[in-house]
Amino acid sequence: MTIFWICVIIGVVVFGIMGYSMIRHRKSRGAIPATFHENTRIEILWTIIPLVILFVMAVPATATLKDMYDASESALDIKVTGHQWRWQYEYLGENVAFTSSLATPREQINNTSEKGEHYLLEVDNPLVLPINRKVRFLTTSADVIHSWWVPDFGVKKDAIPGFINEAWTRIDTPGTYRGQCAELCGKDHGFMPVVVQALPEAEFDEWLVARKAEAEASLSDAGRDWGLEELMEKGEKTYATICAACHQPNGQGMPPAFPSLVGSAIVTGDMQAHIDIVINGKAGTPMAAFADVLSPVELAAVITYERNAWGNDTGELVQPAVIKEQLSQ
């Protein structure tokens, strides 16, 4: 903001002179025009002075930028992957990963219910970080370009497919920090917020241990035999947060970009084709690969849900164990 005040001072001086001549040198006051139209000395002067001001601005800017680019010796590395339209966080080396999607209900967006305090800036699973530790963010994307931005951290880095970018922060005070995707990434660009919960160091360590245990438990959960009803129940939730943005809550989609799933050949036909497209995506279309985004249980649940919802009623289900096996191949 120093730059801002320098600009204000320059503005006041320059427009002051302009205002002075607009008032003093009006024709209606009988002003007689002077005839000067050149003055080498003053022209050199008003080239040199701005140069000096710019130099004074550039020195601290260079130092700050160097510091921002030094992401070395971090205590914690978070891989941030942008998806249309959610964030995925991986705690590198800790075996903890989850996705973070908008939690604001559709009714609030469509003005059928009162908007909450954190309207559009709330998520289901916030990124949890410790205070007082240098955290490095590695941003990338699975589809189009996104940009991960938390204003309070001074961190905005594009998440680009095929690239890994670096940024870092060190949080001083515990609390909740909110931001948004900053790069146009398609229809729900305005609906993929970033929420970071900063915890004191000890609390963070506890949280991480608990989260690791949870991850292991869900992995073994995938091994057991699941019933149609519990898969449908879980699948409905997963569908709502992950698939509904494109294929719509009623499965009708938005053709031609996002095809309808109701009675679709893939969803009601061969099971293996359905599993393939959900796991691997479809090249050349917005359909993403969900192998790394969802757990085997969630994948099985969402496939089962799609095959039985909206009158698709195939009565077929797929076991998480089957998906798990296919993923490991």
Binding site: M22, P33, T62, A257
Partner: protein
């Protein structure tokens, strides 16, 4: 064809016959008896004034179409929540608004002014390549009808922002994208042909005795702009052709999964895009450099330094493109290089502002509508320049990038900047085009409503940006509500006051206070030596000039 033949006949006849202070006479119009009338006159015209008029009418139409889209955007953003349009359509509106305003409104408006005024300002009978001139204009309606028609296609029109970053604009784009690419190709060809014509005219058709350093600044700035156009439009054409191949022919220029590079697209786009920004502002500098001296009744201060400043801005515009990409993860040295070069551009730009103010200083100033718009241009463009300087500081840009602060910045440069300069130019030259002064009371209403409206629209955007509102979002968090409501109110005020502009133009074309050949007391350039309204053919006998003034007709 017919019109061209008769045109030549007239030229030959007049070379033999005419002399004296008149550069044209009613008798010469008789030679046009065989010329097409009605629709065909405009379709086949090779006259620079007719084509200039066509460009200006086209640009005004596009201004209103793009303006309606802006109002759709502002209506949706009036309050938090989705009220009027869905996000898919909102994205089409932001994209089309940008494309239409940049390629359909601002650029053709400057080309129209160039067509009308450059031959008059250098004492030439017409543009150097009149048939090419006709062709470059008529490409434009084709290009923009094609672009607008994508809105009606399956999947909708372009929805990836006017910067159309890959892969959102390739792999993830709607099926209409190939049509969008085609229309941009056509508009690009039109710009290149127009630029070639302007360069050929300025270099070859100056009146005897007029040296380069005698040319009015509008001619100078357009000459430099035309070189910029020729240099960068092919880069854009290349980039969109690569997109076309990625979409239709299975290449992977911008597709990381196929070994391509999405950031390459941004380098190509901004290597075009940054000079493009100056293409939209340099002719504005030229217009203001004509108006400020006229209404200060004093010669332009520092003419030579104005020319050099314009030239250095143009050259430096090729060295700053990556300041649009500070957040893509450039290496540190690149980041520093582009930060320094961007800051340096402030120097020649500052020189221009200082020169205008020094021109006004100790002049004898009066405040007719063109002068009002020109003064507003200087102040508001400088505000846009200041926010540009703030954006140039890379560490700070991480915070401002892709927020409403950027939206505020480039709208200040383009609307109260470039557009106001165009409005100033139209008010300044309307007496020359129609023979009548624009209605003074209505013009002043138009000015004041526009100034209030434009600042009410764009000034609060600085604050919503600094508060953390990203650009191109159809809905926003509650803390941005107040600023957005102000912006929307301002947008409607500004939008509807442009209808007043339409009224002023129509009234002025039909009648009013008659203007003499030299319509403004302090005006000195050559266009003021021909009658108002300027007859279809002027300077058929080149006038002898010295120091930019006619010494012997």
């Amino acid at each position: 064809m017919a019109s061209d033949k008769s045109h030549k006949a007239v030229l030959q006849a007049s070379e033999g016959g005419t002399s004296g202070g008149e550069y044209s006479s009613a008798s010469q119009h008789a030679g046009h008896g065989a010329a097409p009338r009605g629709m065909m006159r405009w379709l086949l015209t090779t006259n620079h004034k007719d084509i200039g008029t066509l460009y200006l009418i086209f640009s005004l139409t596009m201004l209103f179409i793009g303006g309606i889209m802006a109002l759709v955007i502002r209506t949706e953003l009036f309050q938090p929540g989705l009220q009027m349009v869905q996000p898919e359509f909102f994205n089409q509106m932001t994209t089309m608004h940008g494309l239409i305003m940049v390629f359909g409104a601002i650029m053709p408006a400057f080309t129209g002014l160039a067509n009308w005024m450059i031959p008059l300002q250098i004492g030439a009978p017409d543009m150097a390549l009149p048939r090419l001139n006709n062709f470059s204009f008529w490409l434009l309606p084709v290009a923009f009808l094609l672009l607008l028609s994508t809105l009606l296609m399956e999947g909708g029109g372009p929805n990836f922002g006017w910067t159309f970053y890959a892969p959102l604009s390739t792999t993830y784009a709607p099926p209409s994208t190939s049509f969008f690419i085609f229309s941009l190709h056509i508009a690009g060809i039109s710009s290149i042909l127009g630029a070639i014509n302007i360069i050929a005219t300025i270099l070859n058709l100056r009146a005897p005795g007029m040296r380069m350093m005698d040319m009015p600044l509008f001619v100078w700035t357009w000459l430099i702009t035309a070189f910029l156009l020729i240099a960068v439009m092919p880069v854009l054409a290349g980039a969109i052709t690569m997109m076309l191949f990625d979409i239709n022919f299975g290449t992977s220029y911008f597709n990381a999964a196929g070994g391509g590079d999405p950031v390459l697209f941004q380098h190509l786009f901004w290597f075009f895009g940054h000079p493009e920004v100056y293409i939209m502002i340099l002719p504005a500098f030229g217009i203001v450099s004509a108006i400020v001296p006229t209404f200060s009744r004093k010669r332009l201060f520092g003419y030579a330094s104005m020319v050099y400043a314009t030239g250095s801005i143009a050259i430096m515009s090729f060295l700053v493109w990556a300041h649009h990409m500070f957040a893509v993860g450039l290496p540190l040295v690149a980041e520093l290089f582009f930060m320094y070069t961007t800051m340096l551009i402030a120097v020649p730009t500052g020189v221009k502002v200082f020169n205008w103010i020094a021109t006004m200083f100790r002049g004898s100033i009066s405040f007719e509508p063109p002068m009002l718009f020109a003064i507003a241009f200087i102040v508001q463009f400088t505000i846009g320049g200041f926010s540009g300087l703030m954006l140039a500081i890379a560490p700070a840009d991480f915070q401002y990038h892709d927020t409403y602060f950027v939206v505020a910045h480039f709208h200040y440069v383009l609307v109260p900047g470039a557009l106001f300069a165009i409005l100033a130019g139209v008010y300044y030259w309307l007496p020359k085009w129609t023979g009548f002064y624009p209605h003074e009371g209505l013009s002043k209403w138009h000015f004041w409503l526009s100034v209030v409206g434009v600042n009410l629209t764009f000034f609060p955007m600085h604050f919503s940006g600094l508060a953390g509102m990203p650009r191109r979002i159809p809905d926003y968090a509650l803390q941005f509500a107040d600023f957005n409501m102000l912006s929307s109110l301002g947008a409607f005020l500004f939008g509807f006051s442009q209808l007043l502009f339409l009224v002023v133009i129509i009234k002025c074309a039909r009648g009013g206070v008659r203007a003499p050949a030299c319509a403004w007391e302090g005006a000195v350039d050559l266009e003021w030596s021909v009658p108002s309204p300027a007859p279809l053919h002027t300077f058929e006998v080149p006038p002898q000039t010295r120091d930019g003034q006619i010494v012997r007709p």
